[in-house]
């Protein structure tokens, strides 16, 4: 039975909603967005032909409300629903409700979702289909270590616990079960051998009425906290025979449940033994699908829609397999601060040299799938992924080089991102050599680059130029002119990698001090020749080499981009009104969030580093600790309170 989709609702947000809309536009399908209040101004909402508000911002009130989404479909006259990934994409109940409402469900049958939804059952299914699986020992011994405990209903690395001592096993099982119960509503957990330096290799399949199409594999080994940050296709250094076996195993896995639509069969590949094991099957489109699309010249969303309409893929919509593609996920998070998610307004998003957005490339180049644009707000409610940047090139080395350069040249202001980390991975000799594994970022810890001090000088001079142009008197007089020179001009900054509020206490970081002189001969900075200045750009010459720094001033914040990288600074004001000053020992909210628990009471004595309270933000808990030993003299929040970044939560006064 075939049915032609005319108006499609995407039950998702951000870049995946934009991605699906892009294909719809190419195919002539009308688009419907649903959006939370926090997302009202996001690009995916304005791009859709129709948009329906889901009141509230928390996922549970919005993107997880199948009733509201179905109501939106009814009111907009949508005839099909695409779930994207995350949220309701692997919710069989939702799929069933969509189908029962008489709409086309762009995804596998609810039964397929259910079959793969339980990892325990899925493993059993695969074992029977002859796909290699990791066997959990009945009664583990020291020789079986390490082990990993996983939630049966989990995914994306959530709820995984590595066990390295038999003594810990029971405790970890209980903790994992409790966490799984609260996170997924299903306390089932299972144990597997933990492959220490395994690689994550997955195979893209598309099930259709006439069979299973296999579109190569992806290597997604570069992960942090079990979440992918970089994916590529094809997987490097994979023996041809192994590759063929992998593809065959994936085909068998999908065929065993008569799978329809796009899906991914994930394997753990142990390079040391050249063996692979089934991990799970994701019954949806994957975040990292663009690398497959570029290498195979195929629009996977188009294939999804075709299958949902009851067709088999037209071979003419599938191109030749060529080259190598690498994707990186740009997250609003601070790799240098325990991957803490960041929120705020992205004052500038600009990636020069992009050849396509949400689309295939005619020739090797750069693709950007972004959920945000300049001015977008990164909210605390959702996943911190901002965009995916993909490079496609004849070889892996060329793709990595192109991607690293594009990342370096990108302008990402307002919110700290993992960009520097991604660049460091792409440039890393081990990565270039293809020596990758899921522990890559543990084996090669990220050292944040220290910005060139000249960037601070550029920021100071751009500010001085801004001030000069804003003058209302003596407009033509040289900056900081003195007939009697007594001291340099001083501009102070704090590093705001460190956007506002990520410092957990009111104790200021050591400010960066730039000293400069103005006067008759223009700007004078020790050790540098100042070649050109404007509020948006400064060219400095050091040791005969000129570098141009792009500067963008947004209120107190100054972003400097240069070939050496990006640095975000906050101007330290000359004066602070004592009425606005934060008392010493104040504990500030590191980010907007909800107070989960408070460990102390007013009047309590606390030791340095003692937890004072816990805030939950972006699905992660952050402990706010006492910066110094002392007495809690003020405590202004209670569990359940919403707090804004930088809000004073408590004051710990040092004992005299």
């Amino acid at each position: 039975m075939t049915s032609t989709i005319r108006r499609l609702l995407v039950a998702n947000r951000g870049e995946i909603a934009r991605r699906v809309f892009a294909t719809c536009r190419r195919l002539g399908i009308e688009t419907v967005a649903v959006h939370s209040d926090a997302d009202a101004a996001m690009p995916f909402v304005t791009e859709a032909d129709l948009a329906v508000r889901l009141p509230g911002s928390a996922p549970a009130d919005t993107y997880l409300r199948s009733d509201l989404i179905l109501d939106a479909a009814r009111r907009t006259g949508a005839d099909a629903v695409h779930p994207g990934y995350g949220f309701l994409s692997e919710n069989a109940g939702f799929a069933r409700a969509v189908i029962e409402a008489g709409l086309t469900w762009v995804g596998p049958a609810p039964e397929s979702i259910e079959a793969m939804g339980s990892k325990v059952r899925a493993k059993e299914l695969m074992r029977r289909a002859g796909v290699p699986v990791l066997e959990a020992p009945r009664s583990p011994t020291e020789a079986d270590l390490p082990l990993v405990v996983k939630a049966s209903a989990g995914g994306g690395g959530r709820g995984m616990r590595v066990v390295r001592s038999l003594a810990d096993l029971r405790g970890e099982l209980e903790a994992a079960s409790a966490e799984a119960a609260s996170a997924f509503g299903d306390g089932h957990v299972f144990v597997e051998p933990y492959v220490e330096r395994g690689r994550h290799v997955e195979v893209q399949v598309v099930g259709h009425p006439n069979g299973i199409l296999v579109l190569g594999e992806r290597d997604c080994s570069i992960q942090r906290r079990h979440q992918k940050v970089l994916e590529e296709s094809p997987a490097p250094h994979l023996p041809d025979a192994t590759r063929a076996s992998l593809h065959e195993a994936a085909r068998a896995a999908a065929a065993s449940i008569d799978y329809r639509g796009a899906g991914t069969v994930e394997f753990l590949y142990d390079a040391a033994t050249d063996r692979f094991y089934f991990l799970e099957m994701n019954t949806r489109l994957q975040v990292e699908h663009p690398v497959t699309e570029l290498v195979h010249g195929v629009d996977l969303v188009e294939l999804q829609l075709a299958v949902a309409e009851g067709h088999s893929p037209d071979p003419r919509t599938i191109g030749e397999t060529y080259g190598h593609a690498i994707e990186v996920r740009l997250y609003a998070e601070d790799p240098a601060a325990d991957w803490q998610p960041q929120s705020g307004v992205l004052t500038l998003v600009d990636v020069p040299g992009v050849d396509a957005a949400f689309d295939l490339l005619n020739r090797p180049g750069l693709r950007l799938d972004s959920g945000v644009q300049s001015g977008s707000e990164v909210s605390i409610h959702y996943d911190a992924m901002l965009a995916k940047l993909v490079a496609w090139a004849p070889t892996r080395e060329h793709a990595a080089r192109r991607l690293a350069a594009a990342l370096r040249g990108a302008r990402l202001h307002g919110v700290t991102t993992n960009r520097d980390l991604l660049v460091s991975v792409l440039d890393h000799p081990a990565f270039v050599a293809g020596e990758i594994g899921t522990t890559f970022l543990v084996d090669h810890p990220f050292a944040p680059p220290s910005p060139a001090p000249d960037a601070f000088v550029a920021a100071a001079l751009a500010l001085a130029e801004r001030d000069r142009l804003a003058r209302t008197v003596q407009q033509g007089v040289p900056v900081a002119w003195r007939n009697v020179v007594s001291q340099p001009q001083i501009t102070r900054f704090t590093r705001s990698s460190a956007q506002v509020g990520t410092r957990a206490t009111a104790q200021a970081d050591d400010p960066i001090t730039v000293e400069w002189y103005g006067g008759r001969d223009g700007y004078v900075v020790d050790g540098l020749t100042v070649r050109a200045t404007s509020p948006t750009g400064v060219t400095l010459e050091a040791d005969g080499v000129a570098t141009t720094y792009d500067v963008r001033i947004t209120g107190e914040r100054v972003d400097v981009d240069a070939p050496s990288g990006h640095v975000a600074l906050t101007v330290v004001p000359r004066f602070t009104d004592p009425a606005d000053a934060v008392a010493g020992g104040s504990l500030l909210a590191p980010m907007p969030g909800t107070v989960v628990s408070v460990a102390v009471a007013k009047g309590d004595d606390v030791a340095t580093g003692e937890p004072v309270l816990i805030i939950e933000a972006m699905k992660m808990q952050h402990t706010v600790s006492a910066p110094q030993a002392g007495t809690v003299t003020d405590l202004s929040v209670r569990p359940g309170d919403q707090v804004a970044a930088g809000e004073v939560l408590a004051v710990v006064e040092e004992k005299q």
């Binding site: 001030d467 033509g476 007089v477 040289p478 900081a480 002119w481 007939n483 020179v485 008759r520 000359r574």
Partner: protein, 528 residues
């Protein structure tokens, strides 16, 4: 030749830097360190924080007291800075110099600053920290010094606001600085403002009282009401001072162009080459047009010629003409061949009247040895003509600026708007010399007169004594005609690098716009 000129000027500029460094050095390293150790800032540090970021600060009379027994700079910094977009006259005591005590030169320097504030309608901000009068020289301070307080309140009456930020001692007479100011800010635990301190009170009335209860900042903010604001620390006092100025609601009274200053370009000729132009030996004349083209706006669409010379063929040893500096119109009179003849005097008179007719400020560039002497010139009416010029200069009501580039001798100094003729601002180049006449001429005149007197008495003239006398007079007049000495006497507003002249003049022209002016009228322009 050129290299020599440049080298000579650079040597003089190095000397100027060294003298400025003395003023900046205040009371010397030991006292500066002690002051810093108390967590306090020096006057120029306070000023740097007070003025708008990146704005200019034109320090006035930095060499005051040069050549005297007192520290160069006279223990106070004065100048014009921009605070919250408002041009303000700023004074700051230097507590590293004898506790900021005022000496006779301090008083003169502050008087000059008050005069500038008055003439140009500027608010005054006093950064106060002074132990009062330098007692050994009290006779030169006490009685004239009272004017200081009178000036403050008269400024207030003229609607020229006065703000005092008190950082430390401000006692006895000094207490009247905050006392007479419109706004007073005192720094907590630092400011001390009382008429009589604990010992004096004890002597006078037997009362035992401490500093804080007599004049602490907190007391004045909460009890006496003398302090309008209590500042947490020095930075806070400066912050509050800036907020006060922000709320003064100052608008330039006369801002013909502040809204629409025509765009302008840098001078057509390289400013740097000014150093090559000025002869090391002032006996050599130089063409002031070469200086002018390096001071005034260059050729641009709104400024077809940088300098339109007036009456170029008449009275050739004085150049007159019109130009712009930073977009603002100005009439310029500049000596060319040193000597002023009748023609030059008459030309100047006419030109000054024309500037008054057009409400255009005037700039005088001095390089004159004075009015011509000799029978022919006396008979030609040089006194009459010189008097016309001095009359015109004296009664002109457009703002005048003077720059002494080279010589400024005799009545030429008057005619060219010397200090006594109250130009709004007067600056000196390191190459300048000013006296009643050249040292050699002066010594020669003395010699001739003495010889005549001796011979009249029928005595024999002591030739050896004469040559010693001439050498002594020549040397001392030479020394007293040099810029540092004259600047030390407050006979100018500062010695400047010729390359900074354009900027200094631009600041002055902007400052001038704070007060209204109209050119003198009464008669039409008298042709000469």
């Amino acid at each position: 030749m050129t290299a020599t000129n440049r080298e000579a000027m650079l040597a003089k500029l190095a000397g100027l830097d060294a003298e400025h460094a003395k003023a900046v050095g205040g009371g010397g390293q030991k006292y500066v360190e002690r002051h810093h150790a108390r967590g306090k800032l020096l006057p120029r540090e306070r000023i740097e924080l007070l003025v708008d970021p990146g704005s200019a600060f034109l320090e006035l009379s930095p060499l005051a007291g040069w050549g005297s027994d007192f520290t160069v700079g006279a223990s106070v910094v004065t100048g014009i800075g921009v605070v919250e977009g408002v041009e303000c006259l700023i004074t700051a005591n230097d507590p590293s110099v004898k506790g900021g005590a005022s000496n006779p030169w301090t008083v003169k320097k502050i008087f000059r600053a008050s005069q500038i504030a008055e003439e140009n309608n500027l608010p005054t901000i006093s950064l106060v920290e002074s132990g009062g009068a330098d007692l050994p020289t009290q006779k030169e301070i006490f009685i004239p010094g009272g004017k200081l307080f009178r000036d403050l309140t008269r400024a207030s009456a003229r609607k020229q606001p006065t703000v005092a930020l008190v950082f430390g001692n401000s006692t006895a007479g000094g207490a009247y600085v905050p006392g007479m100011s419109d706004y007073t800010v005192m720094v907590k635990e630092q400011a001390k403002v009382f008429l009589g301190g604990p010992p004096l009170v004890k002597m006078a009335t037997g009362e035992e009282a401490d500093d804080e209860s007599l004049g602490g900042a907190s007391m004045h903010a909460r009890i006496s009401g003398l302090a309008d604001y209590l500042a947490e620390d020095e930075l806070d006092a400066i912050r509050i001072g800036r907020r006060i100025v922000a709320r003064l609601n100052r608008r330039k009274v006369q801002s013909p162009m502040s809204e629409s200053v025509p765009s302008f370009v840098v001078p057509d000729a390289d400013v740097e080459s000014l150093l090559d132009l000025i002869p090391a030996d002032l006996k050599e004349p130089f063409d002031p047009r070469e200086v002018i083209v390096r001071l005034v706006d260059g050729t641009s669409p709104g400024n077809a010629r940088p300098f339109d010379e007036f009456k170029p063929l008449y009275g050739a040893s004085l150049v007159t003409g019109w130009a712009r500096i930073h977009g603002r119109p100005i009439g310029i009179l500049a000596n060319a061949q040193g000597v002023l003849f009748s023609e030059e005097a008459q030309k100047a008179t006419q030109f000054i009247q024309l500037a008054n007719q057009a409400d255009t400020p005037l700039l005088f560039l001095h390089n004159t040895t004075g009015y011509m002497v000799g029978a022919e010139y006396e008979q030609g009416g040089i006194i009459k003509h010189g008097a016309q010029m001095i009359n015109a200069v004296s009664n002109s009501t457009v703002p005048h600026l003077s720059v002494i580039m080279g010589a400024s001798y005799g009545a030429g100094n008057y005619g060219m708007n010397g200090r006594a003729y109250d130009p709004r601002f007067l600056f000196t180049w390191p190459s300048a010399k000013s006296a009643v006449m050249g040292p050699a001429q002066l010594a020669g005149v003395l010699s001739i007169v003495a010889r005549a007197a001796t011979e009249a008495r029928g005595q024999e003239y002591d030739e050896k004594g004469d040559s010693e006398m001439r050498a002594f007079v020549e040397a001392s007049v030479e020394e007293q005609s040099l810029p540092f000495f004259l600047s030390g006497m407050l006979y100018d507003d500062g010695v400047i690098d010729p390359r900074d002249t354009r900027t200094v003049l631009a600041i002055c022209l902007s400052v001038i716009e704070n007060a209204p002016f109209t050119g003198a009228g009464g008669y039409g322009v008298f042709r000469t």
